[in-house]
């Protein structure tokens, strides 16, 4: 392994605040075209600040070069394979950026009179109908800003539903395999968390659920397929137990990409579902957002949906054409839990996801899920054929859905390298590693989600890379333990960062 510094490594990190010089600027203000009045007359001096914020002072070329240079210090989905489990890193079609940038969408004010925002409201209505059909639940709110926001909406809806029946339930159940957002949401919504065990097949332990589902339970939050990448075949029984206890059943839609057009949460018995438009529906993830987390709900939950809701009415002079409906925002929702945020949600994400659904149609969405599941099973089979699974066995040896979990425990025992080391060595091979150390249930876990948009060749290259890293570690485990070598920086001291936090540039 070459220890020579790469060009990128020699180029040390310098922030925009350390660049530039006093007096430089990228901005030319528009001319003052009104009679100037003394500022003191308009805003009393005591309300104004005396020291200006120390923002950068750079020219436009400096600004562009700075951010282009640091952008190259990122790995991204357009450059390479990104099998980050639970995150559904599928291709982001560029058409979506083009249509979202059209002025009629991008420069539309959120408080525009609905009569003059009919295109936007129709788009939202159509997206709601499509998501409703995919979920198998009749009502949709697009308002939540991300999956965790949708979860919070769902648990608050549950609270409102029980309160409306005069019930004060105090507990919410989640499996011990749940995404971290589920338990965090439970606490934020004022409930006590109760964990349900996982059975030997990787599904919900039905007897444990039965024992815990008493009349103090408000809701069970579930992901299906779950975070182990497995479809829970006992879902009907689970729904029966939860509903029998008078609780609601909540679907974490992070894994919806496995079942679009194949199986619907509503048909499984779920009352509330959230979607991640930035996972299954191609909203680019932006390095940590924006996302969007619409929810679909059953009839009994509908009265409590966040307001406003989009309504469609026949126009008085309807003639049967598309123009014969008008769309509006209904604020008058007496049982609504209220707003979760400003305005109508992340509309720019709606435009992209709606465009995606239009591109694929019913058959294309089903093809996406089938291919996602095929790619995952193929990759797992390739790893098996290459002997990788002797050291990285699947945590549950079944047909998987769109993702699968490997355990790095035998690798750690026999080769002396941890899952983290394998992940870091993958960086040198030009791959984004899978999700590591999640789910918590599996020792040294690797959660691998290839998605449907990758070619067989890419899956083969990735499997080969893992096999090569294991072979290399058998010869010399130090190589992986000290990886990566070729990235802009090498392993970073996270403990030091947390112990003495430096979270802004000293100026």
């Amino acid at each position: 392994v070459s220890r020579e510094e790469t060009a990128m490594q020699r180029d040390r990190a310098v922030t925009i605040f350390e660049k530039g010089a006093p007096g430089r600027r990228a901005f030319t203000p528009p001319a003052l075209d009104v009679p100037e009045r003394p500022l003191d007359e308009l805003i009393p001096r005591r309300l104004r600040r005396t020291t200006e914020p120390l923002l950068p002072e750079v020219s436009e070329p400096e600004l562009v070069r700075h951010y282009v240079r640091i952008s190259r210090r990122n790995f991204d989905l357009d450059s390479g394979f990104y099998p980050l489990g639970s995150c559904t890193m599928k291709h982001n079609p560029r058409l979506h950026e083009r249509v979202a940038a059209l002025a009629g969408h991008a420069r539309l004010h959120p408080l525009q009179d609905p009569a003059r925002a009919q295109g936007a409201l129709e788009l939202m209505w159509r997206l709601e109908r499509a998501l409703s059909e995919i979920a198998g639940l009749p009502h949709v709110s697009l308002q939540p800003s991300a999956g965790s926001h949708g979860e919070l909406a769902g648990v608050l809806l549950t609270r409102a539903y029980h309160a409306d029946r005069g019930q004060r339930r105090t507990k919410v159940l989640t499996p011990d395999t749940a995404h971290g957002t589920n338990p965090a949401t439970v606490t934020m919504a004022g409930y006590e968390l109760v964990k349900v065990a996982t059975n030997s097949d990787g599904g919900v332990d039905v007897e444990d659920l039965r024992a815990k589902a008493d009349d103090d339970v408000a809701c069970l939050m579930l992901t299906n397929p779950n975070t182990l990448g497995l479809f829970d075949p006992n879902i009907e029984e689970i729904a029966k137990i939860v509903h029998g206890a008078g609780a609601t059943l909540y679907y974490d839609g992070a894994n919806l990409n496995a079942v679009m057009g194949i199986s619907r949460p509503g048909d499984m018995g779920f009352d509330i579902v959230h979607f991640n438009l930035h996972k299954s529906f191609t909203q680019p993830h932006g390095g940590g957002g924006p996302g969007s987390g619409p929810i679909a709900v059953s009839d009994r939950i509908e009265p409590y949906l966040p307001r406003p809701v989009i309504v469609r009415r026949p126009r008085a002079s309807g003639n049967g054409s598309a123009d014969s409906y008008e769309y509006d925002l209904d604020e008058d929702r007496p049982k609504s839990i209220g707003r979760l945020r400003g305005f109508q949600g992340n509309y720019g994400c709606f435009v992209r996801s709606y465009a995606y659904i239009c591109s694929l149609g019913a058959a294309g969405l089903r093809d996406a899920s089938e291919t996602a599941v095929l790619n995952a099973n193929y990759l797992l089979a390739r790893l098996r054929s290459l002997g990788v699974c002797d050291l990285l066995p699947p945590a549950y040896d079944r047909i998987c859905m769109h993702e699968f979990v490997l355990s790095g425990a035998p690798m750690k025992r026999e080769l002396g390298i941890k899952t983290l080391d394998l992940a870091k060595r993958l960086l040198d091979h030009g791959f984004h590693p899978p999700t590591v150390y999640f789910p918590l249930l599996v020792d040294e876990a690797l959660l691998v989600e290839p998605t449907e948009t990758e070619t067989r060749e890419t899956l083969d290259e990735f499997a080969d890379a893992i096999a090569a890293i294991l072979a290399e570690a058998r010869e010399d485990p130090e190589i992986a333990r000290n990886a990566p070598y070729t990235t802009p920086v090498r392993r970073l001291d996270e403990a030091q960062a947390a112990k003495r936090p430096v979270i802004r540039q000293p100026l």
Binding site: R12, L95, G342, T453
Partner: protein, 462 residues
């Protein structure tokens, strides 16, 4: 196979053989028949790229955007100019398409952007700690409420009606979960009624919430408002418009604990309400109660400067039910737009732009007050937005006037009576740097004619 998948018949055969099943259908055998969908989804057939473009363009054409009319509408989001460098940088694959930076060695670009963004937000707010963004403005205020809940657990919030109505409602929605009640304090002469404010705060108050400038555009005198809360040990949360913070005293200097706000005014387009970003800054003592991602500086094994997500033991993926928030995906790309915009404006530009807004708004306010049927709704100092009162019949009359102006290609503002019973005839007018003197004069002319027409019609009717 769609245009986004790549499994040919030959691939399929080879892949199924490798897996050891004879059809894709077999891969779904675990799903019980009773919960399988036995029909195609009822959705239209897929379309070509050109067809999808045409459909989305048609929908766009049925909206009247700030490109199509002279827009004086604000009330929380504003038609400021978004520079070309923002579009260019936010559309780069390297920033657009990665996930949250879980692997710092290959995410230094995004992590450094977060670090720079946090620095800029600390500078604007005068507070030492900022996270890497939350969803947007109103839910940022809600998140500040949850921080207060974690900090002191007292049973009541007090919020001035100067806070954006959507933010007040969001605070109520979220606090209903954990049981903190919310009391509102009225406005007087456009700003928070100080006597009522003092009377509403006691030792049971967890946090108070103010806005700067407030929803009516007025600049609040924060000092006495902060003092009243601190006397009872309540946290002070200020929702600020970041673009005004080149001119107005930094909330942190005035003693607020948490400063949050809507980041749309910093280089983010209107997008019918989102995505934009929310910012969240606080005093040092709240560092370990902050929601969301925080980037921190460190070194790699060879001593190079680098950045990581830090203080993660606050977060849901580590701390689960004991996390300080459930937030995971936030608004990294929009926060990038924010920091690029601030660097583009620069140290002087932020002040110059603020001063231009103040001068143009003052001109507009004076001009409109001379129009027949218009009076000022308050005369407190403002930066870019102010309410006027129209001599027409309540909120319905104001809405009819707005519709009349629309017919002349002018969107004159927001009908305040939609949210404020106390201002039934109010119209909230926002002036951005994209509205010139000529545009303002056009507004005065069109609004004057619309009011006259409305009154003439009512006169005829009565």
């Amino acid at each position: 196979m769609s245009r986004y998948t790549a499994v040919t018949d030959a691939d399929l055969a080879a892949m199924l053989e490798e897996v050891g099943v004879d059809s894709v259908e077999r891969l779904f055998d675990e799903i019980p028949a009773a919960v399988r969908l036995d029909r195609p989804l009822e959705l239209p057939d897929g379309l070509s790229e050109a067809e999808v473009y045409a459909h989305l363009r048609d929908l766009a054409s049925r909206n009247s955007s700030a490109e199509d009319e002279l827009c004086f509408l604000g009330a929380g989001m504003y038609d400021h100019y978004v520079p070309a460098v923002v579009d260019m940088l936010t559309s780069r694959s390297e920033f657009l398409t990665p996930y949250t930076p879980y692997q710092p060695e290959i995410s230094q670009g995004g992590l450094q952007v977060m670090f720079e963004y946090q620095t800029a937000i600390c500078e604007l707010t005068g507070l030492p700690v900022s996270n890497a963004s939350v969803y947007e403005g109103p839910s940022a205020l809600g998140a500040a409420g949850y921080l207060a809940r974690l900090a002191n657990g007292r049973p009541r919030f007090v919020v001035t009606r100067g806070v954006h109505p959507h933010a007040r409602e969001t605070l109520r929605t979220l606090s209903a979960g954990y049981g903190t009640t919310v009391a509102e304090v009225a406005l007087r002469d456009g700003v928070t009624d100080l006597d009522a404010w003092r009377a509403a705060i006691d030792d049971d108050v967890s946090a108070v919430f103010v806005a700067q400038p407030n929803f009516l555009g007025a600049i609040e005198d924060l000092e006495p408002l902060v003092e009243a809360a601190r006397a009872h040990g309540a946290l002070v949360v200020c929702m600020a418009d970041p673009l005004t913070l080149g001119l107005l005293e930094a909330p942190g200097v005035l003693g607020v604990d948490v400063c949050v706000g809507e980041g749309q005014t910093l280089g983010n387009r209107l997008d019918f309400g989102g995505p934009s970003f929310g910012f969240f800054a606080a005093r040092e003592e709240h560092l370990r109660r902050m929601p969301g991602r925080i980037a921190g500086e460190t070194r790699d094994v060879d001593g190079r400067r680098g950045f990581v997500l830090t203080l993660q033991t606050r977060e849901q993926h580590i701390r689960r039910e004991k996390a300080t928030s459930n937030i995971c995906t936030a608004q990294a790309l929009n926060a990038l737009a924010g920091v690029v915009y601030l660097a583009w404006l620069g140290r002087r530009g932020l002040v110059e732009l603020g001063e231009l807004l103040v001068q143009r708004a003052a001109y507009a306010r004076e001009l409109l007050s001379t129009v027949d049927g218009i009076s000022l709704a308050h005369d407190a100092p403002v930066v870019r937005e102010f309410p006027i009162a129209l001599d027409v019949d309540g909120v319905a009359g104001v809405r009819r006037v707005i519709a009349r102006c629309a017919a002349s290609g002018v969107n004159p503002g927001f009908a305040l009576g939609r949210e404020y019973d106390e201002y039934p005839n109010g119209l909230l007018v926002a002036i951005t740097e994209q509205r010139s003197r000529a545009d303002i004069e056009r507004l005065a002319e069109v609004l004057g004619m619309a009011i006259a027409a409305e009154r003439a019609e009512l006169g005829v009717a009565s």
